[in-house]
């Protein structure tokens, strides 16, 4: 690999991680908008997903300045766990998971759908899509970094 092309890959990797940070920031601010501005209280599962999303907003920039190709190693665990939680949440809302293993017993039920856009976009779907995109982009940078 010549130095120029190495620098170029690094720049495009930087752009990928930057895109991850953009996604995470939009998701974090969006969730805050839902809860703090619109006044929808977050359910327990939403909080678990927030626990995975919010640190990304801070960890990813630490890997951007200066660029660290290994950032995926620290960010992927968060985004993958978040993705699993979001999928679990989606299945719960869709009714595929029986009541007995629902983790929400108090406060706001996780099955309550507070927002529906265009007939199918819900908050857990937004969360799942964000975590999925972030994970895919991070895996891409990791793959390229290890070649």
């Amino acid at each position: 690999m010549s130095m120029d092309s190495a620098a170029r890959t690094q720049d495009s990797d930087w752009t990928l991680v930057f895109a991850c940070w953009l996604l995470a920031s939009v998701a974090a601010l969006g969730s805050l908008f839902f809860s703090e501005v619109m006044g929808h209280p977050p359910c327990v599962l939403c909080w678990y997903q927030r626990i995975c999303m919010y640190p990304l907003v801070l960890i990813l920039p630490a890997g951007l300045f200066p660029f660290d190709a290994k950032i995926a190693r620290y960010a992927l665990p968060l985004s993958l766990v978040g993705l699993l939680l979001a999928i679990f949440h989606l299945l719960l809302v869709a009714g595929y998971i029986p009541e007995t293993i629902r983790p929400c017993t108090q406060g706001i039920p996780c099955t309550e759908v507070q927002i529906v856009w265009f007939g199918f976009v819900t908050i857990p779907l937004l969360s799942a899509v964000s975590f999925l995109l972030i994970s895919v982009l991070l895996i891409l940078t990791q793959r390229r970094g290890s070649v």
């Binding site: 720049d11 501005v37 951007l64 300045f65």
Partner: protein, 245 residues
């Protein structure tokens, strides 16, 4: 990647690394600027969105209020001030709530500062356990035409019957003797089913209007943008300015 660079370095001493640094510096500055720009843009979008949303909600509330006041004010709601006043404050309160007590003089001051232009309606939101007992006494006192006097007496003695959010409604009787009420009749009237219904109606309206804490104010249907004395003052001032141009 760093390891590869290290291996290459000894072989290519000379001007090359410096050139590379120069080339690299430019995208780095660009990246930094891009990041800062994006961060600011996101924050601005959030703030603008929040302001826009609140403004829209507030306008919707005013329109709903103009169309139909019934969830805000019921026929049974105690009122104070000029009936033809154009600025109407609706307050959801709990007699055992310390902040309600603290805000009451402020509301009275706002009314005194704008005589005949502000009318106050109060609604019950007995969220503390035991508060509904006190509300029943207030309603029974209303029948004797002494609602506001009784409320003043209750607030004045609040620290002795409702200290630390732990109301002991039975103690209330020791503090309303000076109002001049027929206490025996109060004890009879307070258990009327119509009073029960009034409390149920007020609690239902509180739920409809998303009142979860007391005191909650609506000025001509507009809720406080955030809780605070200044916010209430500003809201009343802007309502006055709009109604009495």
């Amino acid at each position: 990647m760093k390891q590869k660079e290290r291996k290459l370095k000894p072989a290519e001493r000379g001007p090359k690394p410096k050139e590379r640094e120069l080339k690299k510096k430019e995208p780095k500055v660009k990246q930094g600027r891009l990041f800062v720009f994006a961060a600011l843009l996101l924050l601005l979008a959030f703030i603008a969105g929040a302001l826009f949303y609140q403004n829209q909600k507030s306008n919707e509330a005013t329109q709903a209020y103009q169309r139909n006041k019934s969830t805000f004010v019921r026929d049974h709601s105690p009122a104070l001030g000029n009936p033809t006043a154009k600025v109407e404050i609706v307050e959801f309160f709990d007699p055992a709530c310390e902040t309600c007590k603290a805000f009451f003089p402020l509301v009275k001051k706002l009314m005194a500062a704008n005589p005949d232009r502000v009318r106050l309606y109060v609604r019950y939101a007995p969220f503390h356990s035991g508060s509904d007992y006190v509300v029943k006494i207030l309603e029974a006192a209303k029948k004797q035409g002494k609602f506001w006097e009784t409320l003043d007496a209750l607030y004045a003695a609040q620290s002795s019957w409702a200290a630390h959010h732990n109301p002991q409604p039975q103690l209330v009787w020791n503090h309303i003797g000076g109002v001049g009420l027929d206490l025996d009749r109060i004890r009879q009237d307070m258990n009327a089913s119509e009073i029960e219904n009034i409390i149920r109606q007020d609690l239902a309206d509180a739920k409809t209007l998303n009142v979860t804490m007391t005191p909650e104010f609506f000025v001509n249907g507009r809720p406080l943008p955030s809780f605070g004395a200044d916010q209430l003052k500003d809201l009343v001032q802007s309502a006055l300015a709009a109604a009495y141009r």
